[in-house]
Symmetry: C2
Amino acid sequence: MNQPYPSALLENAVNEFSKLPGIGRKTALRLVLHLLRQDDQHVGSFAEALLTLKKEVKYCSSCHNISDSEICNICSDTSRNSSVVCVVENIKDVMAIENTVQFKGQYHVLGGIISPIDGIGPSDIEITSLIERVKNKDVKEVIMALSATMEGDTTNFYIYRKLAPLNVKVSIIARGVSVGNEIEYTDEVTLGRSILNRTPFDESYKLS
Amino acid sequence: MNQPYPSALLENAVNEFSKLPGIGRKTALRLVLHLLRQDDQHVGSFAEALLTLKKEVKYCSSCHNISDSEICNICSDTSRNSSVVCVVENIKDVMAIENTVQFKGQYHVLGGIISPIDGIGPSDIEITSLIERVKNKDVKEVIMALSATMEGDTTNFYIYRKLAPLNVKVSIIARGVSVGNEIEYTDEVTLGRSILNRTPFDESYKLS
């Protein structure tokens, strides 16, 4: 029912934008028309930023986080504890945990999660490099910080079994009632877990 | 409070994306990481589409719609009635009206609307070219199809006064109760206008 676009160039740009996740054709058109109203330099720097990123981006050879150098800022920061490694699915999780300012160890970015439905097996993500890292570096604790989903659980168990023969402590982030959430509206699995994993309480207890 | 991005290239790309309207930094990061997962060719064609559009896009010399050629498809379509010109704010309005399949005349894209608050005056939009077009071409009717806002009204009146001395009929699209909307919830200005502008009714009346 939709009439063709008045310009093939416009349609092409809209097509490219609407390939992005969560961007429909209407939003794509709005974004393209916005760019079209900007000056040449603006659009040039937009395109250039993407091309440069794609061409020159590196992944840290130790933790596989996105990095501008061979070793990322976090891995090369000597004030951080290299004997504690937090395993996460992707770079967004690294940024989320860094924002808590609660963790001073290093990370290992899997770059995905075991998901048979999506055809992602253990060899598609950075598990072997994690095992090698634990074997060869002085890693004392591996903290699993994956999503509380079936895929996260599968990945947790797979990695746990690979790490079990090695002399390393494996822990998992706490599941419990979210700070600010009401007990009444917390799902029963989370609530049950929060009772099992209760922590000591005294006058010094603070939520954050 | 936010920690820096792990890569300056990544941050740069996120900055560029978050300049787009309605795209926050979280969405920008999601889009950039999505592109990063695609192959080089995909990202290349994305950037290329934008650069080519910006560099090569033309505006129809008659109606100022976006076009791949000197004269756009609509203006060069001889089956359309060139004596009726519909005045719209932008290309999205052209597409919306084309989608109704109710209009077989031509358009004139103002490329904006008179808005003193935004510093947009009559000389910033394609009003002079509209007057010239009416003067020099055989235009019998100009249909004003601008938004029903104060800026739209201002622009309507400004153009009307410019056209008044010329031998051309000026009309305006009907304001009334939206098809599908309930009378009860229609604002009173629209409802009042719909009563004043009532149309003849008989057995052949159809909404669409």
